[in-house]
């Protein structure tokens, strides 16, 4: 990993945030009085932070310099405020997502060498936490911190694994905020928002673009109904917004969506199928629409702007040639997308950390791609494959066919145990609200979907049963819960 770090440092292009300027310096450099962050409880003007801190600390240099700080707050705003104070000062900050199981905290504290926990008093900390606890208030009323001491603070993010202990992934402000040409030309008064929590990689990208790029931002609430969030986003004049396809499918059900007029709509975190892209194009005819690929480990890799599902084949086949929308080197190894760029994370943290990248600096994503005509399509995760008598089925591939039916809102394809073939494919389907109440339509729709699957998929990929269900669970990270280990 040392070699990897050197490579990254040597290849930092001019103008990239070098780690010498702290996030606080960069944020307050652009018209802070006119900019703000908002959440369910109201607005905080960035100008209020000019000479004040939200951390109830007696001496920032003494309390945080060179130390490792776990930021474990209930609200996103408190975490943002703490981060603004600590970048450039702390050795390492850990951004704890709100759904992190507290049972993992002792091991995390141990593995990362946490010295101080910053909390807003609502996060369930383990009893008798073996380190100092400092409170972060919503109002900046404490002594201003010493401006960033020039330390290239490590930012530790947690992966959103489905089960078990999340991995800790080490970034720096430089790897998180390298310049991106993502087609989102930024007016200085951009108002950003995201369905994501900003302590997740996808959400953090939006936060950093708002803070460093001179914009404002609307933060989502942890348990806020999607209609309420859309209402706030519309009222606050959000211009740029991102979310997963699952987030957007839910948002499309809200009647308040008609009031919302963003200029830029971005999908990431899950493959975007043609159905969701078409629905968003109809909902926001004037907006630029793109679907992007990023991961906590690999960073932002590319975005697709032509409104079509899948990835233009040239993104991968012409790897190394500069192309609009491509922000990394993309290659396929055994069908798995691998990514190399200055935005990849440095390493995993922990007692049994495995290498994050290979010897050439490529990060394997575990996402499988398959070429069809002039596009590559995600056919699923390496570990999510269903094995039907030795033949592979990627759930996402089957879901994409089911989701093309006009009455289907979303679907989840799973393995069902079979004594004959080990597993067979089964699907749970959520219909659009109007259709879902019409019970007479259920059987004809099921037949139509089954026929569509038989027409478009190999026999072993066709679901043996199609169950119409009222809803499917979405994880805290906004992705469809697949219930697999």
């Amino acid at each position: 990993m040392t070699r990897n770090l050197t490579t990254l440092a040597d290849s930092v292009p001019p103008g990239l945030v070098s780690g010498r300027q702290s996030l606080r310096d960069l944020t307050l450099a652009i018209a802070p009085a006119a900019r703000w962050l908002s959440d369910e409880q109201g607005r905080l003007r960035l100008g209020e932070l000019d000479d004040a801190s939200c951390l109830a600390s007696t001496d920032h240099a003494g309390d945080f310099s060179g130390l490792t700080v776990l930021i474990a707050t209930k609200t996103q705003l408190a975490a943002v405020l703490a981060t603004l104070d600590l970048d450039g000062l702390a050795r390492r900050i850990l951004l704890c997502p709100p759904d992190l199981d507290p049972v993992h905290l002792p091991a995390i504290i141990d593995d990362a060498g946490v010295d101080v926990i910053v909390t807003d008093g609502t996060f369930p900390l383990p009893a008798g936490a073996p380190c100092r606890v400092i409170t972060c208030h919503r109002k900046p009323s404490h002594k201003a911190p010493v401006s960033g001491g020039g330390i290239a603070t490590e930012w530790v993010l947690f992966t959103s694994g489905t089960t078990g202990r999340p991995k800790m992934v080490v970034h720096t402000l430089a790897s998180l905020s390298g310049p991106l040409d993502d087609g989102a030309r930024l007016p200085s008064n951009a108002v950003w928002s995201t369905f994501y929590d900003v302590r997740r990689y996808g959400g953090l990208q939006i936060l950093l673009r708002a803070l460093i790029g001179g914009g404002s931002m609307v933060l989502s609430g942890a348990h806020e109904p999607v209609g309420d969030f859309i209402d706030r986003a519309a009222t606050d004049g959000v211009t740029h917004i991102s979310g997963t396809p699952s987030h957007w499918r839910r948002a499309l059900m809200s009647p308040l969506l008609a009031l919302f007029k963003p200029n830029y709509v971005r999908l990431s975190g899950e493959p975007a199928d043609q159905a969701i892209l078409d629905q968003l194009k109809r909902a926001f005819p004037a907006a630029r629409l793109s679907h992007a690929f990023a991961s906590t480990e690999a960073g932002v890799a590319f975005d697709v702007r032509d409104g079509r599902a899948g990835i233009p084949a040239a993104y991968i086949d012409d790897n190394g040639t500069p192309q609009e929308g491509v922000q990394a080197e993309l290659i396929l190894r055994d069908g798995v997308l691998c990514i190399r760029s200055s935005r990849t994370a440095q390493q995993y943290l922990g007692a049994v950390a495995t290498p994050l990248a290979d010897a050439d600096g490529f990060v394997a994503t575990n996402d499988m791609l398959e070429r069809r005509e002039d596009r590559y399509f995600f056919i699923g995760r390496q570990e999510g494959v269903i094995n039907v008598g030795g033949q592979k089925v990627y759930p996402e591939e089957v879901e994409a066919v089911i989701n093309q039916h006009p009455d289907v809102r979303m679907s989840r394809v799973r393995a069902r145990v079979s004594p004959i073939t080990g597993a067979i494919v089964t699907a749970d389907i959520v219909l659009h609200p109007g259709v879902a109440l019409d019970h007479a339509r259920a059987n004809p729709i099921r037949d139509e979907i089954a026929q569509r699957c038989r027409d478009h998929l190999a026999a072993h990929k066709v679901p043996v049963s199609l169950k119409i269900v009222p809803s499917l669970d979405i994880s805290a990270a906004g992705k469809l819960l697949r219930g697999r280990a």
Binding site: V388, G389, P419, I420, I424, S465
Partner: protein, 80 residues
């Protein structure tokens, strides 16, 4: 409908759906010679579980039936 009739009806339906040519169905017929491949049999078992709420294979210890008669017998025994 009897268990036997349900099974025979399902076999005919699956064969039609999967474009398989069925030979005449008798109790002595070896399943491997029936025209149904293993995917068809997997679908058959899943459909029967849904329709009859019976899964004679659930224990994981049942030997794979060789003839159609064995197969039907497993399901008839599972109701007792």
């Amino acid at each position: 409908m009897s268990i036997r009739a349900t099974i025979l009806e399902q076999i005919t339906a699956i064969a039609r759906q999967q474009n398989k040519h069925l030979v005449p169905l008798t109790d002595q017929l070896h399943l491997v010679d029936s025209g149904l491949d293993s995917l068809c049999l997997a679908i058959l078992v899943a459909n029967l579980e849904d329709e009859l709420e019976l899964d004679p294979f659930a224990s994981g210890t049942v030997a794979v039936p060789v003839t159609l008669g064995d197969f039907i017998g497993l399901y008839e025994a599972a109701t007792v």
